[in-house]
């Protein structure tokens, strides 16, 4: 079934707030057409734009041309090398805010003339592959999740309904999350396009920047963010601008932070639960209930392997990596990750994959990662133990930086003589925790 690129009914309806002013739906349409004409023939592009509006122009143009937009979880040399092997001729769409990326690049421009294009939202075949998101699998190879346009469009519409925004004629969305991450893609770009709303093109970082960006947006307005940013906002801003809705995802919030944020911003705080493979699955407002409510027609079922999601905008049948307790058809309680899985600030990997990468660093004879216990609303970092005679911690970190996302770089990295392997060669987590405690004590009592 063909589905429109955007839901804005009027050519004057805002789509984006940029440094150069408001971009309306007609201008967006013209920019998408103009850039689509400039895209070279290729089956795929990697969209690395740092400006959310230019990202959306690149995404729309690729959709019109039938090109897949690749969204890798990171741009490390190892990831890009694998991607170019599997996607020959891969080019990156960039802008002045894009990170340096070691690929042939094409700058996304906004030079469309609305007079050239009559106003009508382009309709795109639902089965056209729109985006490919990558997560790191246990072998280290990026595992693709393929999203058709019908799934992405449905995701945007289902989120509008789940957050009870159907009746809003306008909404200004400010995101602190990148549009390349599934949460950022869904809750800023897709929700705005499919809800007939508008997003801010920026991606403010410091609390003061988030507040000044919010203050100039018209109401109703919404902040799409993470526990990390919320914690910083609540700790440093006594009187942030009022918003109409707060949205958080990537990690569950504590009750204290949720209450504090609602009070400071004068708005309900809702959370999204999901993952790159399945997309967003459920919402909750923690102050009302700790139970999650599934979006749209999504259903969960459980078997001996775990909990599976299907229906709605979920591509097929997806095994979830979390421990889940079903309450009824629509509701569930989240009990945390399964043991091997690591989630740091919304970036996901497995201990098995990290250990593999660590042991592949030149000079490493043996090495293991440890995920310490969670602290409320704080990002907990990994610890690594490495046997590497003649190498410095710095050598090992440099090697890791080439292989894994910065979020997973160990802190601290301990150089040790041997690892506490048991008789079967395994390293029990308890043994690593004990080793970490010993090293810490040693450090504090020189």
């Amino acid at each position: 079934m063909p589905l429109p690129l955007f839901a804005h009914a009027s050519p004057d309806a805002p789509v984006a707030f940029t440094r150069d002013g408001i971009v309306n739906a007609h201008q967006f349409l013209a920019d998408v057409h103009s850039f689509a004409d400039r895209l070279p023939d290729a089956p795929h592009v990697l969209n690395a734009c740092g400006d959310r509006y230019l990202f959306a122009v690149g995404l729309g143009a690729a959709l019109l041309r039938g090109q897949r937009t690749l969204l890798p979880a990171n741009h490390t040399p190892a990831t890009l090398e694998r991607l170019t092997q599997t996607h020959p001729g891969l080019q990156a769409l960039t802008d002045t805010l894009a990170p340096d990326i070691d690929l042939p690049s094409l700058a996304v421009t906004r030079d469309g003339d609305p007079h050239d294009v009559p106003f009508a939202a382009p309709v795109i075949p639902g089965d056209r592959i729109a985006a490919v998101l990558f997560t790191s699998g246990s072998t280290g190879d990026p595992v693709p999740t393929v999203k058709s346009w019908s799934l992405l469009a449905a995701s945007g519409r289902n989120e509008v309904a789940a957050l009870e925004l159907n009746d809003l004629p306008t909404l200004a969305i400010l995101g602190t999350v990148p549009p390349q991450h599934s949460y950022g893609l869904e809750s800023t770009v897709l929700m705005a396009l499919q809800g007939g709303f508008a997003f801010d093109a920026g991606r403010p970082f410091f609390p003061a920047d988030i507040c000044s960006a919010l203050a100039v947006l018209p109401r109703p307005r919404m902040l799409v963010t993470t526990p990390v940013h919320l914690r910083a906002l609540c700790a440093s801003e006594d009187h942030p601008p009022e918003v109409d809705l707060l949205l958080s995802a990537t990690a569950p919030l504590s009750l204290e932070l949720a209450a504090d944020a609602e009070q400071r911003f004068g708005a309900p705080l809702k959370e999204i639960y999901g993952c790159s493979e399945a997309g967003q699955l459920a919402t909750r407002q923690l102050l009302a209930s700790a139970q999650w409510r599934l979006m749209g027609d999504i259903r969960l079922r459980q078997d001996e392997r775990g909990t599976w999601a299907s229906g709605g905008h979920v591509p097929g049948d997806v095994l979830l990596a979390d421990v889940i307790e079903l309450v009824d058809r629509e509701r569930f309680i989240l009990h945390g990750r399964t043991a091997d899985l690591i989630n740091i600030a919304g970036k996901r990997t497995s201990l098995a994959h990290l250990d593999l990468q660590l042991n592949a660093v030149p000079g490493v004879r043996d090495g293991a990662f440890l995920m310490p216990d969670d602290e409320d609303d704080r990002v907990v970092r990994l610890t690594a133990f490495v046997v590497a005679p003649g190498r410095t911690a710095r050598d090992i970190q440099d090697g890791l930086q080439q292989r894994i996302d910065a979020a997973f770089l160990p802190r601290p990295l301990h150089l040790v003589d041997s690892l506490p392997r048991n008789t079967t060669g395994k390293i029990p987590r308890e043994a690593l925790l004990a080793l970490a405690a010993r090293l810490r004590k040693h450090r504090n009592t020189p």
Partner: protein, 91 residues
Amino acid sequence: MSTATALTDHETKLAALIIEALNLEMAPQEIDPGAPLYREGLGLDSIDILEIALVISKTYGVQLKADDTDNVRIFGSLRSLNDHVQQHRAK
């Protein structure tokens, strides 16, 4: 890790705050005041930078912003970060 350049008292205090906030498990004197904080150098990422912004706001009353100043320069080293904080401190 270079210990060639000695830290001033202000730099030592800021270094200690950063080390505590980020669980770096090192001594302030182990930070080279001229080395980059971000990525290379201490290997910090954006989440750390947010943590640092938080302790700086609490301790010195200085709100870091992305657009009014050159953050690449400010976070270029412990020394440049400390200079910025000392120039703008309200506490």
